[in-house]
């Protein structure tokens, strides 16, 4: 009998727990009123899609919405409608609903456009305005829990609090943006602080920036045009460089740099180290170059863009001596051949940028064998006539390179065409294509070994190609012979069948007579 009350309590308790577990969170009266609110024309303010989104939320989020409605951080149906229309993932909505800064600053009843977050770019809030809710929730800082307060100060859980951090300039924030780099550097130059969020991220950006012409112009010359962190990374909506929507994603870097460097007004009056005016044609040239097309048209993310050669935070033009260092990041084989060549000495004497002298810089065109031409207008010929008249053997070597490569290339084209023809005739072309692979390889190598500017090194790699041509020619003539054999065989068979038919026909006539 004694156990009965305990048992009863237990039953009631577990039933209550069960009920609590099972009942879904219902909208609180205030939230329910907002969900059902209608505008003056009688149309529901919360659209059916927003309603469905709300119904699909989990209990935790519904609870947070109830809480916000009860505390009146969300007090109007229009405001609720904006938040629901964002269609955020549960994790992001969770962060957003716990942030009173965003909740208050997204209610148009409380704020003027310069402090109001909108759901997306629209006519009265153009995209340039960095007050975009969708962007903010994508921001890498926001996602790491560094919300508004992380930069601006204050307490996002308090009902009201504008306790700005001391580094935040009270006024003239737009006039000179030099303060921005110091502001970001509070964390980004502090290894201990960065360690809490992303230990792998370097903390030397500010130091590098100070060494760059950008930094010099911004910090020392106080030039308003000079970029700060936000110029390239954005403000609300900063994404990691590997995010395809980031402004510093590989394929978007050229446009980001070009925003200033392709603009004559921004670049007006800025000069290069030698005093000449800063050009604005780099972006257009790059887009046409073999690298630009690889990156932007073929989507080859390994292709170099502005920062590959110029650096990121320490962006600066490479000096004459450094050009080949930039190129050799990828073209290491060509660079090491060049370094061992006679040209290296000669170019250094002339103070020429090694690779750039022949291949140019921003508008590097796809190389062609005609560059080796020694005729008038040919690269080798023109330069040597001007600068190295006394060495006729150089011209001969160039002619030899040009001639040999052309020969290999012609043979490659011829053998490719032959092998396609044979394949269509049903002949076995596998041995030919194996040789063709060797030939293509030798051709590529020969073109590379031109950079040794040495007849003997070149000859070694070209010889492999010539050998492949010899073997392919033998194989193609075999294949031709095989096809001939098939044709002759066919002719003989047809003759045999024809003769038999004729005889049968004669026999038939004889029997029918």
């Amino acid at each position: 009998m004694k156990t009965f009350p305990i048992l009863a309590v237990f039953i009631v308790w577990s039933a209550a727990a069960f009920a609590a577990d099972q009942t879904p969170v219902k909208p609180s009266p205030k939230l329910a009123a907002m969900l059902d609110a209608r505008d003056e024309t009688g149309k529901p303010i919360i659209t059916p899609e927003q309603r469905t989104y709300y119904e699909g939320l989990d209990d935790n989020l519904k609870g947070l919405l109830n809480h916000a409605a009860d505390k009146e951080t969300i007090s109007r149906a229009e405001h609720l409608s904006i938040l629901l229309s964002l269609n955020l993932s549960p994790q992001k909505l969770d962060v957003l609903l716990q942030n009173n800064c965003v909740l208050c600053h997204s209610d148009s009843a409380n704020h003027t456009p310069d402090t109001l977050f909108v759901a997306g770019p629209s006519a009265n809030a153009p995209a340039a305005v960095p007050m975009n809710l969708k962007e903010v929730v994508e921001d890498v800082h926001f996602r790491h829990g560094i919300s508004c307060a992380g930069c601006h100060g204050g307490d996002p859980t308090a009902d009201l609090g504008h306790d700005f951090v001391k580094e935040w300039p009270e006024k003239d924030r737009d006039k000179n943006r030099a303060w921005v780099v110091q502001f970001c550097a509070r964390c980004h130059a502090d290894p201990t602080k960065m360690h809490d969020f992303n230990p792998a991220l370097p903390t030397d950006q500010l130091a590098k920036f100070k060494t760059s012409p950008h930094g010099h112009r911004l910090l020392d010359l106080h030039d308003d045009r000079a970029p700060s962190c936000v110029s390239c990374h954005g403000v609300h909506g900063i994404r990691p460089a590997k995010d395809p929507q980031s402004k510093v994603y590989a394929q978007r870097v050229p446009e980001t740099c070009g925003a200033c460097h392709a603009s004559a007004t921004v670049m007006a009056g800025i000069t290069r180290a030698d005093g000449s005016p800063m050009p604005t044609t780099q972006l257009a040239e790059y887009k046409k170059s073999v690298h630009g097309r690889a990156l932007l048209e073929r989507g080859d993310l390994g292709a170099p863009r502005c920062n590959t050669c110029h650096g990121n935070h320490a962006a600066s033009p490479p000096g004459v001596a450094q050009v080949s260092k930039s190129c050799s990041i990828c073209h290491s084989a060509n660079a090491s051949l060049f370094d061992g060549s006679k040209h290296k000495v000669a170019f250094d004497q002339h103070n020429w940028p090694e690779c750039g002298k022949c291949h140019s810089n921003h508008n590097i065109a796809k190389t062609s064998d005609s560059m080796l031409s020694t005729a008038n207008g040919g690269l080798c010929g023109d330069c040597h006539r001007q600068n190295a008249k006394d060495n006729p053997e150089c011209i001969q070597a160039a002619d030899y390179f040009h001639h040999t490569i052309a020969q290999l290339d012609d043979a490659r084209k011829r053998i490719t065409a032959d092998s396609e023809k044979f394949a269509a005739r049903g002949l076995d072309v596998e041995p030919i294509s194996n040789q063709l692979n060797d030939l293509t390889d030798a051709l590529k190598k020969s073109r590379t070994y031109v950079h040794s500017f040495s007849r003997s090194s070149f000859q070694q790699v070209a010889a492999a190609g010539e050998q492949a041509i010899g073997k392919s020619d033998e194989l193609t003539s075999n294949a031709r012979g095989e096809f001939k054999f098939r044709q002759y065989g066919l002719a003989v068979s047809i003759a045999a069948i024809g003769l038999l038919m004729l005889m049968i026909y004669l026999k038939l006539r004889q029997m029918e007579r």
Binding site: G426, D428, L490, I494, I497, G498, Y505, L508, E512
Partner: protein
Amino acid sequence: MGWIDRRYQVTPLFEFLRHKEVPIGSHWMGWYYLGGVTMFFFVVQIITGVLLLMYYQPGEATSYESIRILTTKVPFGWLIRSIHSWSAHLMIVSLLLHMFSTMMLKAYRPPREITWVSGYLLFLLTLGFGFSGYLLPWNKLAYFATTVGTNIVKSVPLLGDWLLQVMRGGQDVSINTLYRFFAGHVVILPLAFVGVIGLHLLLIQRQGMAPPVGTTTAPRGMKFFPSFALRDLLLWLACLMLLITFAVFLPYGPGIPGMDWELGDKADPFAPAYPGIKPEWYFLWEYQLLKEFPPHLFGLEGPQICLFVIAILLGIWAIIPWLDRRAYRNLNSPAFTDFGWAAILFLTYLTLMGWDIGAKSGSDDPTSLQKSAHVCALWTLAAGAVVIIVRGWRFKHRWFILTGAALLQVAVHGLLGLPYLVAGVISAGAAFVIITAMFLLGRASRSSAG
């Protein structure tokens, strides 16, 4: 000879052959040779098939590789494979010609109904040969075409899922499918084919070739041996000539989609399917018809209804000897001649569209499809006009209602742009109304005359 005859009594057989005659009628004798030509191609298939079997190794790591070695390294391997493929396609061509000529000449009328049905079975078995043989090289093209092709059986009511799994040997096309198709291609189908063709030939030898419609007494005849048999032989030798010439100069087929057997890449079940996968040309009409059905119709799945329609059409084709009452009484039956032509035009239009004639291949863009339908309609209408003129002028035919209906559908769909099915319903309705009206008028005039 005497030794054999004492034991097996072959003399009556020779006597039978010596006296057997082939009727000479008002129609072209050429039609009589088509069955023999089809059989010749089948014999070539058996011989080359057995030869291919000596090198072919079914298996995930060997099917494709063994065919590759066969065509590149084995002496004359290319020739055997090429002849096998060419002969397969030409066999279907001659089989179709044989079937339609039999149909037009009403050779199915009594006492030859079973001959028609057995020939019809041979037709289905041949299609089965084509479908199962296509997968065996285990290349990319065959793999995806088989995936698409076997997917159709899923729409068979009730049994669909089971059938699909039985055909594929699992949920998806895999090497197990190849084993099943291989067994079908080299054992099951040949056994069935040899059985049915035995019956077919036995009936033809017992009953002789059908004389033209309307002849009652035995007409003039051509001696089966040697006159007909040696002519057969001449034609077969000519076909052999054709085969080897094609095999040498076009080893991978004529380059028409659906008639191309270049090996290409090995099948890769993990690779994504590419657009524009087409079945072989003799399945194109079915493939196109499936595309013309919407996903859902009358609360049923579109492919299901389409399969039902195809089954009905094939069913009608099988029992034509019993449907054609006039031919049954040895009278001309213009309606069924017209039905045969209507069927040909129906298949022509679908096949042309399946080939994307006049459109970018594999494009599903509606304007391009509409343009294709337009071009195909013009071609089909031109062919239809030629058929009607030749039949009306040369053969004095006067019955064109079904051909007209088929052409009406083509015109309404291709030229006016109405959906294919709507066009079909319109023209079927029109044909039905006209035939009913004719029937009622005919009865009225007969009763008034009586």
